[in-house]
């Protein structure tokens, strides 16, 4: 075992792994983190704690991860390259390891210009860092863990033992380079991969075939990303505006139909769409897990953590293995 994390153990056991996501709040409200963690406890093997996602200031990933751990949910601390240089990153990694965190997902991070896709003020005037990129950050974690060395070469008496993750956008542009992108992350030392949300299962399977041809599925654990759709509008938005995500028309139509079935009743429209969204999610989970080379799913119910229990149960992924 590289890290002894629960996620690593579940993957090693051969069971399909389930990760979920917990977004920390934009305030000092630790209670909210704990409440969200309670909703996820027992329904995932680990939960990603986002790191100022969409470049919006929130409770730090490490602090929220520690709170989740105290609530009995194993966290996957996310770390972006946007906000810290290699000195701060490694200091945070040492601190996180000392607090008992065992999984780290390395990301480039959304550009600060992107701040909440324009819905919030954010900090578009911030200076970004990008001292290292994702591959390089993965390599730093590996060097710390396996060689007991800091990036600069100084020795670590006690090395942080992280299960190292990275993201992958299989359907991103330029599409024929994406398998190489994945390979570089694996070659840098990524033990697991969580993908961007998948709706176009055919497209995903074609990219997975290329990844398998490179032997990558045997060198890293690929968890397919599922973003739980909540409304037809959300699916339309993701299809048109989220990079690397395309949503088949059939899925959008299903959601829009659910909405129309409610007539003018807004409450009902919401309920019907959410129910349809959960149905779609469960289908996608099965389709992703049936794809050769996939070792699990990463289910993101954005600001809807309460949906995870039902999804995991209905998908037949409950109870989670205790390993």
């Amino acid at each position: 075992m590289k890290s002894e994390s629960n996620l690593e153990k579940v993957i090693a056991s051969g069971n399909p792994a389930v990760t979920a996501e917990l977004g920390p709040p934009m305030s000092a409200n630790g209670h909210e983190v704990r409440e969200k963690a309670k909703l996820l406890k027992g329904f995932c093997d680990a939960a990603n704690i986002t790191d100022c996602q969409t470049a919006v200031v929130r409770i730090s990933s490490i602090a929220a991860a520690y709170m989740a751990l105290q609530e009995g949910v194993e966290p996957v601390m996310q770390m972006t390259c946007r906000d810290r240089n290699r000195i701060a990153m490694q200091a945070d990694l040492l601190g996180a390891a000392a607090l008992g965190l065992k999984n780290c997902l390395c990301l480039a991070g959304d550009h600060q210009n992107f701040s909440a896709a324009g819905r919030l003020k954010g900090h578009p005037g911030a200076k970004n860092v990008y001292d290292v990129d994702t591959c390089q950050l993965v390599g730093i974690l590996k060097k710390m863990r396996d060689e007991g060395l800091q990036e600069g070469g100084d020795k670590l008496e006690e090395a942080p033992k992280f299960f190292i993750g990275a993201s992958w956008t299989p359907m991103g542009d330029p599409i024929d380079f994406r398998p190489v992108n994945l390979m570089k992350k694996v070659n840098s030392g990524a033990d697991f991969i969580q993908t961007q949300g998948i709706y176009d299962i055919e497209g995903f399977r074609a990219q997975m075939e290329k990844a398998r041809n490179l032997g990558l599925h045997e060198r890293t654990a690929i968890l397919g990303g599922i973003i739980v759709p909540r409304s037809g509008m959300m699916l339309k938005y993701m299809d048109s505006s989220v990079a690397g995500v395309s949503v088949p028309k059939a899925l959008i139509d299903r959601m829009m139909k659910a909405k129309e079935a409610a007539g003018d009743d807004k409450k009902k429209a919401k309920a019907l769409q959410e129910a349809e969204g959960i149905k779609i999610t469960i289908e996608l989970i099965h389709q992703v897990l049936e794809t050769p080379g996939v070792k699990g799913v990463h289910i993101q119910a954005i600001e809807w953590e309460s949906a995870i229990e039902g999804i995991v149960k209905e998908a037949g992924l409950y109870p989670r293995p205790s390993v």
């Binding site: 390259c81 480039a108 992107f114 990008y130 990129d133 991103g172 542009d173 330029p174 990079a243």
Partner: protein, 237 residues
């Protein structure tokens, strides 16, 4: 070339309004090409300041002049005495020119008339594009001649992020994704497999992060010194 753009006239006015004698000092190389600070622009700013001062009832004497370059002393030597007869030099050279002149002019302030932005080129008339960030350790041979330091919004070294959208960068639809261009270019050159190698964390010590930089070309310095000695020896004959 160095690309800049004119500061808003209100901002300039706020900077200069306390001075009695102001000279706008243009530079006729890079910043003239980008229509920010050449002799023409210096004249325009001077006449705008004249108008503004008379409108506001401020007694101000404004004129303008310009030279070919502000970044080598030979070029401004010929006008330096004239400049010294003013209370303020409003330089429309790039920031390099403002710094350089500040250190040489004596106790007269030199203020910036333009915002200096980047090193760039002119893809079409009136458009200027950043292409190099002067990182001090060029890697263009590894990226098909397209710079990820200057042109990728995240300075990524190992390929595109997840935000690339139809060839555009996640920061906006009018910004090309450098990595999209790099992949395309290296495919065309038949060198795409080079991109499979992981580029390790780089040393930024050669860039601004390493502190102010200086390049010293030893053989030129030696040559200049020996030439000086020869002239001195010749003179004493």
């Amino acid at each position: 070339m160095i690309v800049g753009s004119q500061k808003p006239i209100d901002e300039i006015w706020d900077m200069v309004k306390e001075f009695k004698r102001v000279i706008v000092f243009g530079c006729n190389t890079c910043v003239a090409i980008c229509h920010a600070g050449g002799s023409k622009e210096a004249e325009t700013i001077a006449s705008m300041l004249k108008m503004r001062s008379s409108n506001e009832g401020v007694d101000m004497d404004v004129s303008s002049t310009s030279v070919m370059r502000h970044c080598e002393p030979e070029y401004f030597d010929e006008v330096i005495d004239e400049l010294r007869s003013y209370d303020l030099v409003l330089s429309t050279a790039c920031g390099v020119g403002v710094n350089f002149l500040s250190e040489r002019i004596g106790n007269i302030p030199v203020y910036p008339g333009i915002n200096t932005s980047f090193f760039g080129a002119v893809p079409e008339a009136g458009v200027f594009e950043e292409l190099c960030a002067g990182c001090g350790d060029c890697i263009l041979h590894m990226t098909g001649g397209i710079c990820p330091v200057a042109r990728c919004s995240k300075t990524l070294m190992n390929g595109p992020c997840g935000g690339t959208n139809e060839g555009k960068c996640e920061i906006g639809k009018d910004v090309d994704c450098a990595w999209y261009l790099i992949v395309q270019r290296m495919k065309d050159l038949g060198t795409i497999e080079k991109l499979s190698e992981v580029i390790p964390p780089r040393s930024w010590s050669t860039s601004r992060d390493g502190g102010p930089r200086r390049v010293s070309v030893e053989h030129i310095r030696e040559y200049e010194e020996s030439a000086e000695q020869k002239t001195e020896a010749g003179g004493s004959k």
